[in-house]
Point group: C2
Chain length 346, copies 2
Amino acid sequence: MPTFTVDQLRRAGLSILRNVGVAEEDAECVVDHLVRSNLVGHDSHGMVVLPIYIEWIREGKINIQTKPEIIHETTTTAIVDGKWQFGQVSAKMAMNLAIEKAEEVNLGAVGILRCSHIGRLGAYSEMAVERDMIGVMMCNTGPADVVPFGGRESRLSTNPISVAVPTGKMKPFNMDFATSVVAFGKLRLLKNQGKPIPEGWVLNKYGEPTTNPADAFDGGMLTPFGGHKGYAFALLIDILGGALTGAGCTSSVEYQGGNGTFILVINPKAFGSKPDFEEKVDELFANIKETPPLAGFEEVLIPGEVESKIEETRRREGIPIDEVSWKQITRTAEELGLDIDEILNR
Amino acid sequence: MPTFTVDQLRRAGLSILRNVGVAEEDAECVVDHLVRSNLVGHDSHGMVVLPIYIEWIREGKINIQTKPEIIHETTTTAIVDGKWQFGQVSAKMAMNLAIEKAEEVNLGAVGILRCSHIGRLGAYSEMAVERDMIGVMMCNTGPADVVPFGGRESRLSTNPISVAVPTGKMKPFNMDFATSVVAFGKLRLLKNQGKPIPEGWVLNKYGEPTTNPADAFDGGMLTPFGGHKGYAFALLIDILGGALTGAGCTSSVEYQGGNGTFILVINPKAFGSKPDFEEKVDELFANIKETPPLAGFEEVLIPGEVESKIEETRRREGIPIDEVSWKQITRTAEELGLDIDEILNR
């Protein structure tokens, strides 16, 4: 598998986006997001999506000629119209707005409508942590490919959530996952390996439980994680990301694709002193880390810890991109008349 | 099983609390909470806990001679010191405060420390819905009886969460559950029925997976719902309920028992018009309700729907209280020199 440095991937991504006319600031926002997704191991939100984004620009699904705009605002809240600019550009702007509000009045909540694919949610909740705040990101998405608990037709999507929390000495907490029991990326891997999946993860196109991961890619449907409890979170995310923001719930007529996004930022200083809160969180995590592991586990992990470890490794050893994805990126560059090897070695 | 009307249970509860010197307003707050828990089917938070509360008053764990107090406040946030008054009194006061803030500035977040048992979380998120707002309640609790994902020693507790959302014509959404895969109440039932439980729900006192529900009551431990995802929510609730509020995380030295509670209220009006939001939520729920059910399910349910149905039945047919619980309540009344039959027939 070819491996790259952060700088190499960044140069490759920026060359491609500049070439199709993306403004410098927006190109940097998007490429930094993609490269960081690869860096922390969320490859499905990494450079692999760049060729798809180029397609979307051509098809008019992403509008690079516009700027997201605040269309409604109060001291604590706002609605941002993403205007189908890159989702990363809208989400970064909206998260910064929520952070500003939380700096001023301790809480900030911002919704985004007409918002393209925002990528890895953890990237935005991390922005709040960098400012010593708690960041919450959630969004709905399309198409509907997740069944409600007890149902056998898709009405929801993988509706992901991320919450990040600042710490003192410990690594920040960052939970960041889909509310389906499993993501399509993992199913694709298991399908390619010819492995069965536990019953309950996927329904086939007839709405019947299956243990064959291939069924997921043949009109199949995912189930929410954790039974009725995970389903409740999935539904809540459609309510906040879809109904509250005005983006529309995934299965509604008004939903036009992309990520109806809801952001919340909480300033811990409003509840006491910053060192006090961060010390308490450190103490909690130290206590959790000391839990003796269950048979089959090496250690107990804090959400976000896996990503931190992958980041350390990849900064040291380079970022691997699988052959298929790299070929797609190279082809996209070539179609634009770019010499990817020259860019990498620049 | 004896059944009672709301009024009968209310009279019985009020007589008992008045008799031990609880102020009228506080007694009403607590008894209304307990009776409503029974009414909607959450019997474990209903009248059954009244004898325990009387014990706690005697032991000084509940301090009926005090009032919860705001010890820190900003426009959007507050910390309430519950002073070990009944948790229901503190939580109601704190939720009202969060609602007031959300009325004024669209978002309100309130933490409670030194907070006794608050009971059914859905009761407070419902208060926000009555004011057309979204209510979020979460709390940690003790003792630690839940393992972190991949661990074999308890470091967390059942850390419940409730989120309630207003609707137009549909019944309000109210998700309200523990972040452990199962509650002790359900395990007790399965134990009494001699039924096995699926592997993964409970670890025995040696930290080994078990299918015997009795192990849960012999030093056993619960697991978080939904694997690492539910564990992340459990941990987040300890962070917000324990660390952010100052109540202390469940396994920390400073944790003194009770419920470290975090409340958030979101005013949907800040994001658009009230009818517009409620119509969108109605449409979502109608769409979800139309999902054809999976084999073994009668219908797809919206969180809170089961409780609404139980409430209708129990209002019509009376509230059943199991013999054992009713005997405990009767005994408590007798010890206080009260004639429970006279009170019921008053």
